[in-house]
């Protein structure tokens, strides 16, 4: 009995020299790919440690010849990173709260509660997926302006609840919870609100973790839209501030630029490495649902 695992190739294939060569070539390509992924990542950090003259030298070096950790101190003082990071976290917290409350309740209702015209309401939400956001980005901006939300965090928080993809994600999660749990709780006399808080909510911690990662990624990444919404620069999130004051400023020394960029890269990379499991799960889920 063969218990070892095989893929497309079997051990017999690998014994033939021609196929073996192709296999090794393929491994080499994968290795080159992995290096080409890691090189730019590492160079962000190393460039931040070099002298500016070294970053500008041709051909560029990989490791710094001298390690200048003081670059990070200078870079820290260049723009108010803590302020912008706080704004980003503020946006993330608000977006997450609104998403959990608004979409959590709505998806629970659609999935588990007895609501007439459920189908029509479902379409009201899901049809928005068909309309590409770029096509209404301008009216969206004008609309927020009409509502008087420009330069307010509410202009980012409230629309965060209008996400049909997350609604779908939560709804199919609630669909997957066993009905018997709810039935037995109902028989024991639990109210619908209690079903939500004491059964649905604790069970859905993993899906909210996945959601939190998506929301965090958006808050950390999004630079264009907040830049339009926020007219005073002390409300910019980190990404917008970096694009306006670091990436597009030519005067700034390149080593300092990279020092700032590496400080911004660190948190999401750490979050990713820590929560890999949830991220990959959410991703596969997203891939299936589109």
């Amino acid at each position: 009995m063969k218990t070892y695992d095989r893929g497309i190739l079997s051990v017999y294939d690998l014994k033939k020299p021609g196929k073996r060569l192709v296999y090794y070539l393929m491994m080499l390509v994968v290795l080159i790919m992995a290096c080409s992924m890691l090189y730019p990542m590492l160079i962000i950090f190393f460039n931040g440690l070099k002298l500016n003259t070294e970053v500008n030298s041709f051909p560029p070096t990989f490791l710094p010849s001298e390690w200048h950790f003081e670059n990070y101190r200078t870079a820290w003082k260049y723009i108010e990173l803590p302020l912008f990071a706080r704004n980003t976290m503020f946006i993330f917290a608000g977006n997450m709260t609104i998403t959990v409350i608004v979409l959590g309740l709505a998806s629970f209702s659609l999935s588990r509660m007895n609501v007439p015209y459920k189908k029509a309401i479902g379409y009201f939400f899901l049809l928005t997926l068909f309309i590409p956001p770029t096509t209404y980005i301008i009216p969206n901006f004008v609309n927020l302006r009409d509502l008087g939300l420009i330069n307010s965090f509410w202009a980012l928080w409230l629309p965060a609840g209008a996400n049909a993809f997350f609604l779908l994600l939560l709804k199919s999660f609630f669909d997957g919870i066993h009905m018997e749990l709810f039935e037995s709780a109902r028989i024991d006399g639990a109210s619908e609100l209690r079903l939500f808080y004491q059964i649905a909510f604790p069970l859905s911690v993993p899906i909210f973790a996945t959601l939190a990662i998506f929301v965090f990624a958006t808050a950390w990444n999004d630079w264009y839209w907040p830049g339009l919404i926020m007219s005073s620069n002390d409300r910019y999130p980190l990404a917008t501030a970096i694009s306006k004051y670091v990436v597009n400023i030519r005067r700034l020394d390149i080593n300092l630029r990279f020092a700032i960029l590496s400080m911004v890269t660190m948190p999401p990379v750490l979050v990713f490495l820590l929560f890999q499991k949830y991220i990959i799960r959410g991703l596969n889920f997203g891939g299936i649902k589109g």
């Binding site: 497309i8 730019p40 670091v246 890269t265 999401p268 589109g290």
Partner: protein, 306 residues
């Protein structure tokens, strides 16, 4: 602890006095839905509807809006930049397919065959997707620099210098290459999950029947991920047809409008020329074209679930 004594038996009168169970349940169900309905209406349906209305208006934040009929549409049809940007967008979508689309499929198949360090390679491939976009812009501006590392490598290999960003012929290609580097990892993981779920016995059976490696890939692996391929193909088309942020951040549509995509032109109309009416009209036009793609994608993803 002692449940038998906890709940007293209710009298029939008490049941009669309570409102019908069904109705109160419905109220709560609707209450749960209410915030979402309000928010979806105000921040999605309202702007979508307003977009169509605005396309017939001249939007002026100071003097107020005035109805202009089809003027916005005739204006954009006369604008040569609209044609240029539409062509650029098609070119961008095509490059995305040519340069980027097949990469994750190829690597997913290759990585599924790796016995050791598979986890490491997966993480490495996905890592750029985690890096904030603005960092990527800063990084790649430096990588693409005339005296940057890519040109240094090219020189070492005996090629002449390439002006990745400032040469009209290269600018869009450079952007697509950078985006492929950044995002192929996520697509790769989706393909990889599908490939890994193919029962190993199928390959065994095929091999015994004399199918070579290529035939096994062609007749087992690729059909197994066919749905994902079609779905991601459509998703990529939908995403690239709306792309403008990278073009804006890296080159602001230049050099010589060679990276001016349709969506970027919409932003220019609105935020540079302050012509929100014409920008809305461009959006409506785009919607008419893209709605079709979105419906196709929906039908695909529904088929997939069955």
């Amino acid at each position: 602890m002692d449940r038998s004594t906890a709940a007293p038996i209710r009298s029939l009168d008490e049941f009669a006095k309570r409102p019908p169970m069904k109705w109160s349940k419905h109220i709560l169900g609707y209450l749960f839905l209410l915030p979402a309905v309000v928010i979806f209406f105000t921040f999605l349906w309202l702007p979508i509807g307003k977009g169509i209305v605005y396309s017939f208006y001249d939007i002026d934040f100071v003097k107020g809006d005035s109805f202009v009929g089809w003027a916005n549409y005739t204006k954009i049809f006369k604008d040569a930049e609209v044609t240029v940007s539409a062509k650029n967008t098609l070119y961008y979508m095509m490059l995305g397919i040519l340069i980027g689309f097949w990469v994750p499929i190829l690597f997913a198949i290759a990585i599924s065959e790796i016995r050791r360090f598979q986890g490491f390679v997966r993480v490495a491939a996905y890592l750029p997707f985690v890096v904030p976009l603005v960092v990527l812009y800063g990084l790649w501006k430096w990588l693409y620099d005339p005296v940057g590392p890519i040109n240094a490598a090219l020189e070492k290999l005996g090629f002449s210098q390439v002006l990745f960003l400032t040469d009209k012929a290269w600018s869009m290609i450079s952007i697509v290459f950078m985006e492929t580097w950044q995002s192929f990892g996520s697509a790769m993981l989706i393909y990889l999950a599908a490939i890994m779920s193919v029962p190993r016995d199928w390959y065994e059976a095929a091999e015994i029947d004399g199918a070579g490696v290529w035939k096994r890939i062609r007749h087992i692996t690729l059909p197994a991920i066919k749905n994902q391929i079609i779905l991601l193909f459509l998703l990529q088309l939908i995403a690239t047809s709306q792309g403008f942020q990278t073009q804006f951040a890296m080159l602001d549509g230049g050099p010589n409008n060679s990276t001016l995509t349709y969506a970027l032109l919409i932003q220019r109309y609105a935020f540079t020329r302050q012509d929100y009416g014409a920008a809305s009209a461009l959006g409506v036009l785009m919607f008419l074209v893209l709605g079709l793609l979105a419906v196709l994608q929906y039908r695909m993803s529904n088929k997939k679930e069955e």
